[in-house]
Symmetry: C2
Subunit: 280 residues, 2 copies
């Protein structure tokens, strides 16, 4: 059975990394949920906005897949750009919609982890003062509703680039949110914190760039697999940028169909690619 | 309250028209559902696949908006590429997921119409013989579950380009499906048929191209607003290709933020655009 992971939070969980800045990940063992069903993953996974792009969930899944070559992983995209912690109140639409998506996923998968990244929208107006208790209520309700008491929750920190320029400029209290996130992970069972230290932003000053998202996902996987906090960049995290291109037959067919449907190749070119694939 | 419309069917409802082949539609009165909430529409609306693109729903909504300048319209994307009619059985995931999305939409909108386009996946193996009764069960169940007894259902025909080449080549029975769709619309209350006559495909031989999707949406709106079948191309349907570019302040801000988040402009350029917009 597919091992699935919830993607919850705001834009940096949804992913805004530019697709052209990293190699795409094609791996038939990695799925994403669409219309309540699983399909092979292609980024953007979490299409909350027209600007959705590379998310940490992709390299998390790729690292997970390498560690579990005989299993399948599924990603459940529920993140919403710009959402504050209040927007995730269990009575609100985002939480209820995430529950609904999770219940579709549960028909054909086992939810095995929760990936959380949120806080930019709470990095002002002293919102950090109530962040911990609000997050606790959200997570406790989520675990209870979906019967997920014992699975790991991985929460990432906010980038050091905040509070400086662009859309990040006014988010001056991000370090206080980071303190709350870290304290939460230290104090709560089955919860691990992942630092965003050393990661970089797009020109908008708020969104993690594609390379940083790949590294961040690698850190999330380290935290998940080793059940520990990640408080420093990982020495070999650039590994996450090297993508397997030794594609399986299924992956080659998938890529050719993608290119045909996007008009990048003609039908004759597609047929010629298919006849080569079939000889493999 | 927003007037909302369900998008049901397979890839040509989801939309596979190439985005670069038509002018984009930016209209603050047109919304789409994401994570159970409304946001301003940008294509692709129905992101069921990485190849999702221009759908008939966009020009449908634009025509509706012109006819109702003081109201807002919302699109509820539920279409799934490659889905057969059996995949839409009321006990299946696609139907149940569409119900779930519709119920989120119903919290803040009034569902005012159902847009249906499906049948390519049933254009072989004599599946047309059971198409009518299966579709009837789906529509009757949908109307009952959501209490939508009296709203129009618009069903479009399959393209004449099928059965010839590419992925469309083996779909030789599409005319028989068209007969069933037309008969269905003639016999059922609140149901109107829209011809796909004269529309063209992408190089894959199965997906309506972007220009055709714009025209098709215009035909859907004619059927919806006049409550009649559209059995021939509409003389002035090229109107659907002319897009309003006299943008409102909200639309200009939206477009600038989109371009910034996509890395198409720098933050300095964004700020300069914003200061111009604020003077309008």
């Amino acid at each position: 059975m597919i091992k699935s992971f919830l993607m919850l939070g705001q834009s940096n969980m949804a992913g805004r990394g530019f697709l052209h800045e990293v190699e795409p990940i094609y791996n038939e063992k990695i799925k994403m949920l669409r219309n309540g069903q699983w399909q092979m993953m292609t980024e953007p996974i979490n299409y909350d906005r027209p600007v959705a792009g590379v998310s940490l969930a992709a390299s998390f899944a790729e690292a997970w897949s390498k560690a579990h070559p005989d299993e399948e992983i599924g990603l459940i995209p529920c993140a919403e750009g710009g959402s504050s912690l209040d927007d995730w109140h269990p009575e609100g639409t985002l939480f209820q919609h995430a529950l609904s998506e999770a219940r579709f996923a549960l028909k054909t998968s086992e939810i095995s982890g929760i990936l959380w990244h949120q806080g930019e929208s709470d990095s002002h107006n002293s919102l950090h003062e109530t962040y911990y208790e609000k997050l606790l209520f959200i997570i406790e309700t989520l675990r209870k509703e979906l019967n997920l008491q014992n699975i790991p929750l991985i929460i990432g920190g906010l980038g050091d680039f905040l509070g400086k320029k662009g859309f990040g400029k006014d988010l001056t209290e991000f370090q206080k949110i980071n303190e709350e996130l870290r304290r939460f992970a230290y104090e709560q069972d089955n919860c691990y914190f992942v630092t965003a230290e050393g990661l970089s932003a797009n020109p908008d000053g708020i969104h993690l760039n594609a390379v940083s998202q790949r590294k961040f996902g690698y850190r999330y996987f380290e935290a998940y697999s080793k059940k520990c906090h990640i408080l420093k960049p990982i020495p070999n995290e650039n590994e996450s940028l090297k993508v397997n291109t030794n594609y399986s037959k299924t992956e080659l067919i998938y890529i050719s169909m993608l290119n045909l449907a996007l008009g990048k190749i003609t039908y004759d070119e597609f047929e010629s690619q298919m006849s080569k694939v079939m000889q493999l």
